[in-house]
Symmetry: D2
Subunit: 328 residues, 4 copies
């Protein structure tokens, strides 16, 4: 049965590991052309999914490239020591995706709306990133050695600006001429435990239409003319997903009741949509979002960790400790 | 079938109209000792539920008293003119619950946490209420005529203070000696369309354990020693309710399939709880909340309307227009 | 005596009316090539300064162009009716500077830092402006009639982005290709009574180096390639100005004491600088700012008025009333 | 000459070290009955002023008691390691003023307005304090050993509540029955370098009329019935003080010009008031405040340090490191 079908069409689930999990669940087998690795750290598990062939690209609905997922439930706790370890894991993983000369010029972009807590992750990361471009030319050579010229931008969202976010970024890329763009965004997820605790890095950039807002044009090498690394963190679950999950699990639970299954077979996935619509009305799918009560703290902690990871990956001479002290 | 059973135990749904609706749906008949009236306005529908007998009290799970529900979907729109009409309806309805001499002393209490948007409604109303107590003794008699001595308090939440909210309020009541307490609180609801648009007034105060936070002791005539009017507005739906609603509606949708119904009959309501738990984990019921994306604006608008309604109900000489200008 | 000399070098006072006032005070005569008009409204006084000749340009330290100052002390009060009148005056005055066809494309830029209250005016105006560009192509002709295609941008500040603000704006201008840029900024002033209550419009754009932050490159026709209208509002007084004003007024007060004046004559303006430095240390001039306690409300009110004025000037078919209802 | 006279009457300068400094400057001698000690730490200087006799009490305008001032300019920097040292110094100094049994019950009060950045210090400290009272009775004995029962309250300000802050606190004290109240407040200062970097502890509580808002009734042993320790931090300079300082320093600078001095002698201190009033109008003294641009960060850092110091002083079994992890 394919209740997931309706979700896949309706709500973009952005994590490659989730996509892979769903597809393997449905097909009961590995996806050809999709390679997976795992690394374990004290405070984090890292899963690397490489989509290397066209078939995998199509079935996963994601372009060929490397997707690194860092799962660190400890972000939910207020444990500064453990957070520092996650910063180090993130910095190290991010560095594996960056192929740049020492003095390269990098633009960090924080997508999302700074006025809406769960969507403010990107702008918050921008506010905490160690920006050096305006001082870089004046810095003494011995300091420059291990640093790069980093600038940052919070372009806002289409509803506030009337301009496609990709257009704003491209305008600034044309001026600043970075050799790499790192775009940070809040994602929708289908899992409560991922909120604020899972970080996905992808060297494919951001595909058209993903994310929780109206960010329809892609932010990737094709549109920007330079490589784009996307850093995404689930911050919300669409309320429609909760409804969909409930149906899925009920089907799962009653799978030994043959009559039940035959009834479900008769209902096509369209039959579920009116149920979900009725529950969410007057809102449409994507307007009602689920967040934990402590979302503000969670976003704050995650933003600190991402800004730290970016800063140590871009400035190899900086330690995690120093980063904290540099930060304005 | 009683899927609602699990919800009723688990999550407190605070609106008398919702409770009545559910019970009538389950029993298929009117509730004895529970009287209902309706009034219609251009921008609002008013439903008055009076619980007058012990039987109704028990079945509704709410103490005897008057529950006035104002439904005004127009609060979701940014229509200042229409909002002013809702202020007037609220002021008028609130006045029907207030039985006080001209110069009475009233304390407005804003329950909730000012750092968490959906729970900040109460403190926001306090910030917008026309407070007069500190100037009342100096005011000339001709102004005093149509005004009352109003003070306001945002006591915070147990998690931040370590003190039961009711204890803080009682301490202040003992000093300020008001003749009436009006307590404003954010509520959980089972309906998306009620968020920010439904206002419930109740002359029974706030029962122990309601609300979306840890407000366990009652705030009512019994605990405060003076009458307490509660003003509640749904601002969130617990994510567990979305799951519950989905199950309910699926059952409803398949009610003509006798085999389906018999399977459901076999599953007792406890069978659903693990499904819901699995979806929400690692969070427990009540920690994951559903809100619309524009929750900030919605809370802001609703707070303005409630503060306006309180101000004109308490200061009969003030017009809605004047209230706006008085406000700091 | 020229105590002002030190201030002029040190702190950029951005209002043309203030510059004119100071120069006339110093020289005791009118400035050739600088024309002034006044208009009076119930809630606002409008002063139009036209710098038309090179001499005036040099002595005023401001490029040739039209500078319209709207003084409306009523913004400090919470009088919504009166504020609406100020919106109308602003809309009307702004329209006199706009020479655009009906369907022109306009970009509104909110300069400043959204995390620092007195510098957040620009971003706040952006958040309240009626943006239409993303919907303009889909709008029916009869609505388009009286509307223009408006987009908006909050570029951030150099310290956060590492990029000159003018570079970011130019990048976006190159993509959006507006026929006019309107740039809103918070200014420093030498007068407490102007804070939040004086609005200056200038069709010369923003000169290099003005404003309260690091906005060093000019935002004007020369740098942008299209006309730029600047809307500036004083939101702070540099603490150094308070010190300077005190010295000025002391000199003024003792001007009938010939010995006093001779002592002052002996002290050159450099003698005052160490006094000011000693008072402000460890901060340097421009880092310590004076604001009224109610600055948050004042900025909020002023932002609403400016966004309203811009919206009715750009969309001639919209009334002030309608604007309020359109606003998201 | 006594320009300070006008300031002393007009604006309450709350630091005992500042008061002592001014008086010694004016009289040129030590104050009898006022004892001073100094301690030096890597990141902080501690000055302990003990007012032990009535004469000192009168001339200092402060009640008999111990005033500990911690000066730590490093708070202005973003150096987490150094901040931790300041937390330890504060915790140790605070402990010298606390004479309580192991299981004592303590109420932390955060004075001020959470909506106005420089006045939000107290409420911010409350939000970061390790509150235990609501869990204390359930905690196992081995944990209780080194902890105390701590509760916290943000009473708001008179303008918002209509209730004297002291009345609200007393109401809560009567319920919670603490054996000690610790009241945290933002202060006015006459020195820019003290803003956010000087912490004063006083075992005399808060005298009537101090602070930057309307906190007219005293919060001290007399009014509360239990000892009150005040923790104050300068967060603003009244703009009038900048004007006064300018005049003082000008007089100082010209003290070798006998004619100048004689002119000043003729002007009494009232002559300066109109100068100051003219500069500040339409605001009155105390409404215009000077703050550094980075006031938000400074308040945030200071609040963290104070909350940390309070937490380790009250819970002797907690280390600075653990405190960070406990914190919600």
């Amino acid at each position: 049965m394919d209740i997931n079908f309706y979700k896949a069409n309706d709500i973009n689930l952005d994590l490659a590991v989730e996509a892979r999990e769903i597809i393997r669940g449905q097909t009961g087998q590995e996806i050809p052309g999709c390679i997976m690795d795992k690394e374990s750290y004290d405070q984090a598990t890292v899963t690397i999914v490489r989509i290397v062939e066209e078939y995998a690209e199509q079935i996963m609905g994601k372009p060929r490239g490397n997707y690194i997922t860092i799962e660190a439930p400890v972000i939910r706790e207020n444990n500064r020591q453990a957070h520092q370890e996650v910063v180090e894991v993130l910095g190290k993983q991010l560095a594996t995706l960056i192929h740049l000369p020492e003095h390269a010029n990098v633009l960090v972009v924080g997508l999302g709306n700074w006025n809406a807590t769960p969507d403010a992750l990107g702008p918050k990361v921008v506010g905490m990133t160690l920006v050096t471009r305006h001082m870089y030319n004046y810095a003494p050579e011995e300091i420059k050695g291990g640093m790069r010229s980093v600038s940052a931008l919070s372009p806002g969202v289409l509803g506030l600006t009337g301009i496609e976010t990709a257009e704003i970024i491209k305008g600034v890329v044309d001026k600043v001429k970075p050799e790499l763009v790192i775009a940070v965004d809040a994602l929708a997820s289908r899992s409560a435990e991922r909120i604020g605790t899972t970080i996905q890095l992808a060297d494919t950039g951001i595909a058209p239409g993903s994310g929780i807002g109206n960010k329809r044009a892609g932010i990737n090498q094709e549109s920007m003319g330079v490589p784009v690394i996307a850093i995404g963190v689930p911050t919300v679950i669409p309320a429609a997903v909760i409804a969909g999950e409930t149906l899925d699990r009920l089907v799962e639970q009653t799978k030994n009741e043959p009559q039940m299954q035959s009834i479900y077979q008769k209902m096509n996935s369209e039959a579920f949509q009116p149920i979900v619509n009725a529950i969410l009305q007057p809102y449409t799918s994507g307007q009602l979002m689920v967040t934990p009560k402590e979302i503000d703290t969670l976003i704050e902690n995650t933003a600190k960790i991402i800004a730290g990871g970016i800063s140590i990956a871009l400035h190899p001479s900086i330690t995690v400790e120093e980063y904290t002290n540099y930060l304005h």
